[in-house]
Symmetry: D2
Subunit: 136 residues, 4 copies
């Protein structure tokens, strides 16, 4: 599987200077913001959104995240944030990797597990699966 086939979605992002901390690198928590924003933009692309899911009473929530920090990003750097998706029962696993541009060096590699709540109770995830059908 080559690089182009590996992901279902990719988007460019640029470090905002306030995301860089006193060590001169993007703070570790900020990458979770990048990952979340990427998931949401992916949702948009497949025709759904957070706002819409909440309006329908469905609440996607994060169950766990594993993230490796490989290359720190710093002031003004560009990146590509990439995502692929698989389903394991009620759990949706987003494999999310960020690469520095222009050299495509890996920045972080992460797996984010999401489940869906409806009225606070775990669902089988079928509503979330709908818009993602083409990728599952």
């Amino acid at each position: 599987m080559d690089y182009d086939d590996q992901y279902h979605f990719r988007m460019p992002l640029r470090v905002r200077d306030y995301e860089v901390d006193s060590q001169g690198i993007v703070n570790n928590a900020i990458y979770l913001h990048y990952l979340e924003h990427t998931r949401h933009e992916f949702c948009r692309q497949v025709g759904t959104s957070f706002r819409q899911m909440q309006a329908e009473g469905v609440d996607p929530v994060i169950r766990s995240i594993q993230i490796q920090y490989l290359t720190p990003l710093t002031l003004g750097e560009d990146m590509e944030s990439c995502l692929s998706l698989r389903r394991e029962g009620a759990r949706f696993i987003f494999v999310q990797d960020i690469y520095r541009l222009p050299d495509h060096r890996p920045v972080v590699k992460a797996e984010c597990t999401v489940v869906c709540l409806e009225n606070g109770r775990l669902t089988r995830g079928d509503i979330l699966a709908g818009p993602f059908a083409a990728y599952l």
Copy 2:
């Protein structure tokens, strides 16, 4: 009016390292977080809260903020965040000053104007005024 009489509320805060940006000082936006947190802790002290106001359908919103940055805070520093309140019709004006500890050097001086919405419409602010009666 001496220093002790000048404010209705004061609380200690410590810089969290992730709030310091690449210039080695607390980022300008973070002070608005400090000010907001101080207003909310003041609400708690007078027996109300954001959560409770929202539950009652009242939405306090910021109309304007004026802030002067006098002394930058850096890693691990302590501060005292001070607040006094006055009302001008529908507007509540929080005068909020932060001092560095232990030398009490002024860090920021700010005025934050808050109004209350109910179902998205401006109110006269009487519901917000209730818990603050002792200070107005």
Copy 3:
């Protein structure tokens, strides 16, 4: 002066969902991040950057911000962030307005005053003025 002439720089931004707080609107402090990011992208356009200024020992710092909140932004909304610049002696005043897209309703109106430090001492600002010469 028509709308197109009014600003020296404008850029599109989209609300990231994590910037929306429990009231369902972009948190007041986040707009200061938008304004800062816009100033930095403007710097880029004129051929300088934070990183470069710091490397030269020049530290632009915020002295004051006045901001009015006119229309709240919410999940997934788009905006245009606009900036014009004037100099008053050692002070650089960034007039920064954000408009919601596509209806161009004003979101915030702000004035941010910046001065330059060199080795911690206030400068006349000539180094910062250099790249901005075309606009002053």
Copy 4:
């Protein structure tokens, strides 16, 4: 091993309202801030600090984080952030759990792996191990 023996350090924290996102719960990235702040306060207790380590040319950096989200925190809630530490060669593994107060329900469980760089190169970690000697 009972609850009191399980951790090397524990500190109270309270949710700040701006940390709660549009879903009404503390945003997933914010917990990484809580964890980081807890590590730094632990460093303080053992007599060192970020500021001091950076001054000595040592840069502790995060290599990986695994975090499980068990119970969401919301507006105004209190928590206890707990930490224990072990060393595996050059890697320091912070086991970090957060509990909601007053019911001590687990909120997140995390493992954060930290290594030390000196002039950008991986060290054996002996300088970081010094202040932590009592716990390793």
